[in-house]
């Protein structure tokens, strides 16, 4: 398999502190309301505990990205390392990528009248650095992986709370959150 970079989200370690999202904001200074990485608390429908669990999500740099396929002006490209890059200069702000992505990665910027999204910090990667979000995560819950070599038996691609789109094949893997222990006192 060719190199395909992506994210590993270890929900058993994530504490929902949103440092990853803040690091992204510090790195790129997006307009207010434009968020490239967001923390989603898991629904109580399948995680019915007082303790909460979270997925930290951004662009999944899919194998078959619908943003790239559906963009009428070809503003998206996929690099050799699998990163899906949005060329802001070419974007005409039609919003088709925003409407198409099942994972909500591209966001519309009202100030620039263009779409934008996570670039997996490819400039930082090219300089030998980690993505800002990965570097900032205090618990190690967010990691950069290469799916060509990634081999974690605990990892799943489509956990509950994440759209099932095998045809698009998002380059993300998850470790499920821990089920909290219930300690009962003998009466």
């Amino acid at each position: 398999m060719a190199t395909q970079l992506g994210f590993f989200v270890d929900a058993s370690l994530c504490i929902g502190c949103a440092t990853c999202g803040m690091a992204c904001k510090n790195q790129y200074h997006q307009e207010p309301g434009v968020v490239w990485r967001q923390i989603y608390p898991l629904s109580e429908e399948f995680y019915p505990h007082r303790e909460r669990a979270f997925y930290s999500l951004a662009c999944n740099h899919c194998e078959h990205p619908c943003c790239l396929e559906d963009c009428p002006v070809g503003a998206f490209t996929k690099r050799d390392d699998g990163i899906v890059v949005h060329n802001v200069e070419a974007c005409i702000g039609c919003g088709n990528c925003v409407r198409s992505c099942p994972f909500g990665a591209p966001r519309y910027n009202e100030a620039t009248k263009k779409a934008e999204k996570c670039s997996l910090c490819y400039q930082r990667l090219d300089a030998g650095l980690q993505p800002a979000c990965v570097q900032s995560c205090p618990t190690g819950a967010l990691q950069l992986i290469d799916l060509a070599t990634f081999d974690n038996p605990d990892a799943v691609q489509v956990p509950p709370g994440f759209p099932q789109r095998p045809d698009i094949n998002p380059s993300i893997r998850f470790k499920l959150p821990k089920q909290p222990k219930v300690v009962r006192r003998n009466v």
């Binding site: 039609c94 409407r99 709370g161």
Partner: protein, 268 residues
């Protein structure tokens, strides 16, 4: 509704009305009895061009950078939006050629038919554009059904302006079939969505709980059907009522269809 979608409401409804008018016009050339007279036919095609122009003009307001619109056909390989723009452009060019032909008495029924085929292809491309992978409720052929019904209903309704009252019978039948089909589709589909995945269920629930959805059913479909059954003709004001109904339906389409991105962390 997100205001950014309003130009798309205008674009899709006006363009589909134009396509519907052309389809009816082509059918009248071949099979449907009771077409317009030659001078009325010219006016009908002027209406087609005007509707198409209004729709295309509205679509520019949807773009953050309208001057970049000329680059929208650069991804024909995979983007349905590029194909839609190209096919609507071809349809528009053929409408213009047909109209010039009609003015010069040189437009045959083959040219009108070719224009109708281009319109049909544009309708298909349009329906695929608005079937995004993020919306499981409409990531299928339903937009084609919805858009096709808009074309038939508004096409037949507006065509009544261009034929004499005593030759409207065929249009009344086409419109009635369109309205009955639309009524069944729009009542059944939200119920089917309720039996789907979570995101699809949310779409169905939003529809059934929406006053606009029920208003559209009554004002845009049931009431026009009752008028047709009672009067057996298409009154002058009915196309306007149907247009309002279709606008309401399209606003519902764009605002009440839930994206899986809106339910991340929840069930799919």
């Amino acid at each position: 509704m997100d205001l950014q979608e309003l130009p798309l409401v205008l674009f899709t409804v006006f363009t589909q009305t134009a396509i519907g008018l052309v389809l009816i016009s082509a059918a009248q050339q071949w099979a449907l009895a009771g077409g317009p007279t030659e001078s009325k036919l010219r006016f009908e095609w002027i209406a087609v061009l005007s509707l198409l122009g209004a729709g295309v003009l509205a679509s520019f307001f949807h773009l953050g950078h309208p001057l970049g619109a000329v680059r929208m056909i650069t991804n024909l390989g995979t983007a349905w939006l590029s194909r839609e723009i190209l096919l609507v452009g071809i349809f528009g060019a053929l409408v213009l050629v047909t109209l010039v032909g009609l003015v010069k008495n040189a437009a045959g029924k083959w040219l009108i038919t070719a224009t109708a085929v281009a319109g049909l292809l544009a309708l298909v491309a349009m329906s695929m554009t608005y079937a995004p992978p993020s919306m499981p409720a409409i990531d299928n052929y339903l937009p084609l059904v919805f858009f096709g019904l808009t074309a038939v209903i508004l096409g037949a309704a507006l065509a009544s302006y261009f034929v004499p009252a005593d030759r409207q019978q065929t249009l009344v039948i086409v419109l009635a079939i369109g309205l009955v089909t639309a009524l069944v589709v729009y009542l059944v589909v939200p119920g089917v969505w309720l039996s789907g995945g979570k995101v699809m269920q949310l779409t169905g629930q939003l529809h059934l709980a929406s006053p606009l959805y029920w208003t559209r059913i009554v004002v845009g479909l049931v009431l026009p059907l009752a008028v047709l059954a009672w009067q057996k003709r298409i009154p002058l004001w009915l196309p306007a009522l149907l247009l309002i109904g279709e606008f309401a339906g399209r606003i519902i389409f764009f605002s009440l269809t839930v994206s899986s991105a809106a339910n991340l962390g929840g069930l799919y």
